[in-house]
Subunit: 555 residues, 2 copies
């Protein structure tokens, strides 16, 4: 039965459309090169109203010149764009909406722009598609959010469009591929255009994937987002770090790991060479890392704790250190680092024993969110790494330790360790533990179908506060999980619901522990236990290779 | 406190080692080219005993010349290799172990070699690391299984090592990157070596990522693994397909999808243009696909059902059809397809509403496995796609339909639809539903810490058999789930445990349905409802573009 065949259908409309767009700028471009001063008229011809446009802007690398230029196009000729942006971090990113050039936004993380996003939603200037974890957003580029245009950033290009993305390769490959192989237009801003392919340090993206390159008016914006000054690590972080190392890392023999970016996980990194060595753990835990090149990891690397680090992106100031440590970091034939956000997120989800990070709020069931009052911040990679990959089939000591057939299933399986490490209060009057996440109200106010939860309670295997550790994976029911969370919630409202008898039982059963139970002397929990107490000491550890960014210099 | 610094440590041992290996073959190679006849001595110098070697072999594309050559190296000079192989499918893959060249194996899928793997384990000739889902295996290449050597396959290379991987790009990028950026050795077998970069159809892998290329003695092995002849689709498949379309796809408005590779899902593909049209569903369901280019999808594409298809790999015979349908498939600037197994698995996990596939065995709790008696087959991508990604944060009608706060959580969340579509018997005396999966015994016999389960019961949202559909996501407890499974298990032992009163209640509550409940006329469930009933009709639908592989030709 041959029926319903649409015989008149054209099957290469996108290819034709792409050819027309490219033709329309032939008076402006010289082969693949758009002159810097002509970028706005070029964008006005290459982008059509209603297009899906993916704009690179991740934690560190920003296609800022292209964002700025896009905000200057005429909203009369280009409007109703559907922007797909891993990170919304620059004012220009939202100017595009305010000026009526773009209408709809799908994103992963906002950060400094989170308050303004909320206001723009309220004003009706922006229509939110969804908030995603990074790798989920990249995934949709291949399914139902295939881009018409990709605007990306690289260090340098040759005249054929070959790109060097260097240490901050980040999400460029995942973004470009979706457009380049579906007849989308790929435009790369670069800091420099070189004469010949041989003048590129290396080729990260082949030229045939790139339609146009434009030299930006100034090098792309990059900031040392994950650098933590050891001076700001407090004794409470040291105490929590000691508990983490002894009560979690050592107990479960955690081999592969992703750390969050707070001062508490920075403390752990700086405790490995001191407290960790004292416990005889070197070579036994924390060997393989999915992590940006945190400067606070330098002492652990230099003391022989770290076998390998694969990175999402780079970190300003770490370039020379990384280049001098190719046994540890992923580096290219030119010696500089290669990062890859998609693959590192993939590894952070599927290949690590443990994710450890923090949150701003946690409810009684253990659900957490960084979306608080009026700030639609998104979550970046946390939902991906802070969740159990149900498809994982390889085992490890740590993963097997999590077995708990809660419903009485006859077949056991392990789990990834997901550790939430928080102080009970964010500031004096701002409890971390709340009866209801602000996210619930935000969802209602923004007409979102569900509250934006960062990590769900049943994915959290361990809760670590200054009070102690709750081994939530051992909970036999939601009720018991709630009791364990309350036991660690200090003097917050939720902490006050803890029933002393239940707490005693949980402690006796080893489901919660205090520092004393772990044999940790609170008196030792002070900054003298840190392998480096200042940026200067990190430089010393690095043998002068770490180049401290200006904002972190006190000298 | 500066302490424990290992001042004498060398940090570029891998780079040095790589340089030495490359030096050792300078008498053999001409720049990057290894002469075909010298591949064995070259491998003997480039690979060292104990190395981790990743050997490309995925569903379709096989680095078969390199596998064959590796099996010829002297086991005296090269031994104890740790092989990492996405797919173990050729006899040579296991000869390497039998000859004592390799010892340890990490893999994802075996298939025809599954019986021999089990025997080699028993004989002590092979030591199994873990069985993985594809994307999990790639992930570990960046963490704790970083390869020393990558042996991969491409269509063509130029003298600088630039590669054209073409329609079957598959997992090449994910594998090469891990070795290329960690000072591993990358060797590519190619069907041809061209003079100049401009003679390559396009560049898929930049030359600086590749250390050596060798022209294979014959083109790499490829087989049409996912081609299903419509002649073999039976009336029972048509009935099940009708139920799937009406009772699942339409009910939940499934937009984005991954199909398994059996005759039942092939039947669905061929029912969309007929039964689907009749129900007025065109443009309302199944718009975006994560799928290899199945020939049985041609009628749906030609009838305007499909907006886009992103593929893991290619399918022999589909080349011209794909090249003529760039609006649907991902194609490069040269017009040929670009597949990408890592990204397609990522999309199949995070971006689709639904996964639908089959299994060989399912137990009473809904756990399923294709590991049966003595066959350590592995699961390929099924565990990844057939599981809920807990990190997903975007919503869709289908995903939201799955909300069921089983434990009484206060915050709701959706789920991916995971549909198991099986006949109650695999063959007359071989029930699909079993009291215990064979995998449990296999695990015990092979000293595996856990049974190799393909998909866990609590990830399955729908069970579809010839009896009807069980909406498992509506189950309020493990007990209820078991009752729903029994209701669909026909006259198997598990089916016989179904209690008529419970079945009646489940039906009244809409938790299970029969074809009648869906308004499906069993009399219409025959082959005349298929849009194509033979390979010849698929060719006709394709306008002569589909080139039927020899083994499927009856003319």
């Amino acid at each position: 039965m041959i029926c319903n065949k649409i015989s008149s259908q054209k099957w290469d409309t996108k290819r034709q459309d792409k050819a027309e767009r490219i033709n329309s700028v032939q008076s402006i471009v010289k082969q693949k090169i758009i002159p810097t001063s002509d970028i706005v008229p070029a964008l006005e011809r290459l982008i059509k109203s209603g297009d899906r446009v993916v704009l690179e802007g991740n934690n560190q690398k920003q296609a800022d010149f292209l964002a700025r230029s896009l905000s200057k196009v005429s909203a009369n000729s280009v409007n109703n764009l559907h922007m797909i942006m891993p990170t919304v971090s620059l004012p220009d990113h939202l100017d595009i909406f305010e000026k009526g050039i773009a209408k709809r936004l799908d994103f992963s993380f906002s950060g400094p722009q989170s308050l303004r996003i909320s206001q723009l939603i309220e004003d009706g200037a922006i229509e939110i598609g969804d908030i995603h974890t990074y790798i989920e957003l990249y995934s949709r580029l291949y399914m139902d959010l295939i881009p018409n245009v990709a605007l990306i950033a690289a260090y340098s290009a040759d005249k054929e469009g070959n790109l060097y993305t260097g240490p901050s390769t980040e999400d460029t490959p995942a973004i470009i591929e979706a457009a380049a192989f579906k007849n989308g237009i790929v435009i790369a801003q670069v800091n420099e255009i070189v004469e010949d392919t041989r003048d590129l340090k290396r080729v990260d993206i082949p030229g045939s994937w790139v339609d146009f390159v434009v030299q930006s008016d100034k090098p792309f914006y990059i900031e040392p987002l994950f650098t933590r000054d050891p001076r700001q690590i407090k004794p409470i972080h040291v105490l929590m770090g000691m508990m983490a190392i002894k009560g979690i890392y050592a107990r479960h023999e955690v081999q592969t790991i992703n750390h969050g970016i707070g001062f508490n996980t920075a403390a752990i990194e700086l405790l490995l060479p001191t407290y960790g060595n004292e416990l005889g753990l070197r070579g036994k835990i924390c060997k393989h890392w999915a992590l940006n090149p945190h400067p606070t990891l330098i002492p652990a690397i230099e003391s022989g704790w770290v076998e390998s680090v694969h990175s999402f992106g780079s970190e300003l100031g770490m370039e020379n250190y990384i280049a001098a440590r190719p046994d540890i970091f992923f580096t290219g034939s030119d010696g500089s680092m290669r990062s890859n956000r998609a693959f590192c997120q993939m590894a952070g989800q599927y290949a690590v024993d443990m994710f450890i990070g923090a949150t701003l709020q946690m409810d009684h069931e253990g659900n957490s969110s960084t979306v608080t009052r009026g700030r639609l911040s998104g979550f970046g990679g946390a939902p991906n790494m802070g969740s159990n990959p149900n498809g994982r089939r390889h085992t490890s000591k740590a993963w097997l330790d999590m077995i708990n057939n809660q419903q009485g299933e006859t077949i056991s399986r392990g789990r990834k360790l997901v550790v939430q490490m928080v102080e009970t209060f964010q500031s004096r009057n701002n409890p971390t533990f709340v009866n209801q996440l602000d996210a619930v109200k935000v969802a209602k106010d923004s007409n979102m179908p569900l509250p934006p939860v960062m990590i769900y309670g049943d994915d959290v295997t361990h809760l670590l506060t200054e009070e102690g550790i709750a081994y939530l994976y051992m909970a036999k029911s939601l009720e018991e999980r709630k009791a364990m969370i309350a036991a660690m919630a200090g003097v917050t409202d939720i902490g006050m619901t803890a029933d002393p008898k239940t707490v005693k039982r949980l402690r006796a059963e080893g489901k919660i522990v205090y520092p004393e139970d772990l044999g940790i002397d609170r008196n030792r929990a002070n900054r003298s236990l840190l392998a480096a107490k200042s940026m200067a000491e990190l430089v010393e550890w690095s043998g002068g290779l770490y180049n401290v960014p200006a904002k972190f210099r006190s000298w």
